[in-house]
């Protein structure tokens, strides 16, 4: 049992990949503490100036906006994804199952640009929603939907939906159907069975899904850039602007570090808040 014949050649490449990722993250951390030398890609001496600059209201507002949008997106995605995951797991017909699965996860594989662009066709001034409302006579000139936070969140929910569905469905499919039967035999109707048994038992999936949705939204770039159009700014847009437009790598790096720290802190809070649920024990 203790023989491990391919240990080195199997572990080494993975360890190397991990090192590469660590190196990239360490570089970001290192640059975040360096001085910006305008006009040069090289950075100057060590400083905390980049981080003190982050406290300016302009940047603080972007951070708050990002957290708020990420939170809204994760919560809404959970609400929208749960019924789909439930249907996916509980439908009996194989064909319906495949149809739900493929419909729900295809967007995951389309990439941010295609999806965001498609939403521009839906939400734009000449887009689907405005055309529909005009045709129905509910409005007489196009609504400004693009460049609003609601539009950005709508598109982001669409982006995070597939992964949330997958994670919820994974959790739901591993719940023994006898739990629900037991609850019913004890007098719980479908709704009470759901809230007292199914939902609590699916919490690991809920936590995993919300966490992932939050993290993904947090790093969203194309959606706020194209649908927010500069009026809804998230951290990624700022990092891009500073890093690739102004070549201010140190400040872009400090934004990235702060963003990463914020992600980790938020995820830590989510884990902490849902801690009692980890005591579910083995299934």
């Amino acid at each position: 049992m203790t023989s491990q014949p391919f240990l080195r050649i199997f572990v080494a490449p993975g360890a190397l990949a991990a090192l590469a990722l660590l190196a990239a993250l360490a570089t970001v951390l290192q640059y975040s503490l360096r001085l910006y030398v305008p006009g040069s890609l090289e950075a100057g001496g060590f400083t905390l100036a980049n981080f003190t600059a982050l406290l300016k209201p302009l940047y603080a507002r972007v951070f708050l906006e990002t957290v708020w949008i990420s939170f809204l997106t994760a919560a809404l995605t959970l609400l929208v994804a749960y019924p789909v995951a439930y249907a996916l797991v509980h439908t009996q017909s194989r064909l319906t199952k495949a149809a739900i699965l493929i419909t729900a996860i295809t967007p995951l594989f389309l990439g941010e640009v295609v999806r965001t662009y498609s939403w521009m066709a839906v939400l734009g001034n000449n887009g689907f929603v405005n055309s529909l409302l005009l045709a129905l006579g509910l409005i007489d000139r196009p609504l400004q939907i693009m460049f609003t936070r609601a539009a950005v969140v709508t598109a982001l929910v669409h982006v995070t939906l597939p992964v949330m569905v997958i994670m919820l469905a994974a959790a739901l499919s591993h719940i023994d159907p006898n739990y629900a039967k037991a609850a019913q035999s004890l007098g719980a109707g479908p709704i009470r069975t759901f809230f007292t048994v199914t939902l609590p038992l699916s919490m690991p999936g809920v936590v995993a899904g919300v966490t992932t949705a939050f993290a993904w939204t947090f790093s969203a770039f194309a959606t706020p850039q194209l649908i927010g159009g500069g009026r809804v700014n998230m951290i990624a847009n700022l990092v891009y602007q500073l890093g690739l437009a102004s070549f201010n790598f140190p400040f872009a790096a400090s934004l990235s570090v702060a963003g990463l720290a914020l992600t980790l802190a938020t995820l830590g809070l989510v884990r902490l808040a849902t801690r009692p649920l980890d005591k579910l024990g083995p299934p």
């Binding site: 572990v11 990439g111 066709a121 839906v122 479908p190 993290a215 969203a220 194309a222 891009y240």
Partner: protein
């Protein structure tokens, strides 16, 4: 009476799910219709119909080079990720070694760490060692980004594999490498194929990090598309999106038929 209440609940649930799935497919439907608009703006519904944006999209040189670059990056990145991730998943499942959990956590962290952070890190790193204009940095960055998906897919297959089959082969006199080649690998094939497919699709579509690590010469298709939207307003991109959506959906339907996506994504009951 309560049976009818149950039925009402069922119908309501079905309608909710259909509405949500409608929300999911709506953008794809709208962009498909908008792609056939004859006018040079993205608008819905079209007044006059035309194929011309498909022709234009297919002729646009940046899309050509983006597609070619994408294939190069995806081919290398997904294959390397398959080898690295497959081997590491095997080691995770079977072996005890130093820093096992640490390495696993670092490799999986690219699911959580913002892509712009990873992209920026590799960009600065590559600039420092003078590789910023080549494919190497793009490939390495993509390998790191898609590795978690390969790891998970292969790991799940390994978990579902009956270890006794390997013991039986070893008992019949097969050496460890022959067991691996004649028993383990064939049984893992669906998981490996699924992991590779996920990795390839995700790599081909990766955008945020690619925006940082690609140069003009190495830009991938999503980056080329993004740059196009920033410059032009015509529906060429809608046409390209339609091709994209059709290709991806076809690929997934085929993958589902042959590999069983439900099992691959671990969303089917154990039995």
């Amino acid at each position: 009476m309560s049976r009818s209440r149950q039925r009402a609940l069922h119908v309501a649930g079905t309608l909710v799910v259909l509405a949500i799935l409608g929300f999911v497919v709506l953008p794809a439907l709208v962009v498909t219709i908008a792609a056939f608009n004859d006018k040079a703006i993205l608008a819905f519904p079209p007044q006059a119909w035309s194929w011309r944006w498909f022709a234009k999209a297919l002729a646009y040189p940046d899309f050509h080079s983006g597609f070619g670059n994408g294939l190069i990056v995806t081919g290398w990145a997904s294959s390397i990720a398959l080898l690295v991730g497959g081997a590491f998943a095997f080691a995770l499942d079977r072996y005890a070694f130093a820093y096992k959990r640490t390495i696993e956590a670092i490799l999986l962290s690219s699911l959580i760490v913002p892509h712009f952070t990873i992209g920026l890190g590799f960009l600065i790193l590559a600039a420092q060692i003078g590789l910023a204009r080549g494919f190497a940095v793009v490939v390495v960055c993509h390998v790191v980004l898609v590795l978690p998906f390969v790891l998970k897919s292969v790991y799940v297959s390994l978990r579902n594999l009956d270890r006794r089959l390997e013991l039986a082969a070893a008992g019949l006199g097969a050496s460890p490498s022959r067991v691996l080649i004649t028993v383990t690998l064939p049984l893992l094939l669906p998981g490996l194929a699924g992991g590779w497919l996920l990795a390839a699709i995700l790599s081909f579509n990766e955008f945020t990090a690619s925006l940082f690590v690609t140069a003009q010469r190495t830009q991938t298709l999503p980056v080329a598309m993004y740059n196009y939207v920033r410059e032009y307003a015509d529906p060429s991109l809608a046409a390209l999106s339609v091709i994209y959506i059709a290709a991806t959906a076809t690929l997934l339907i085929v993958a589902n038929a042959y590999l069983g996506l439900g099992k691959l994504l671990n969303v089917e009951p154990r039995r």
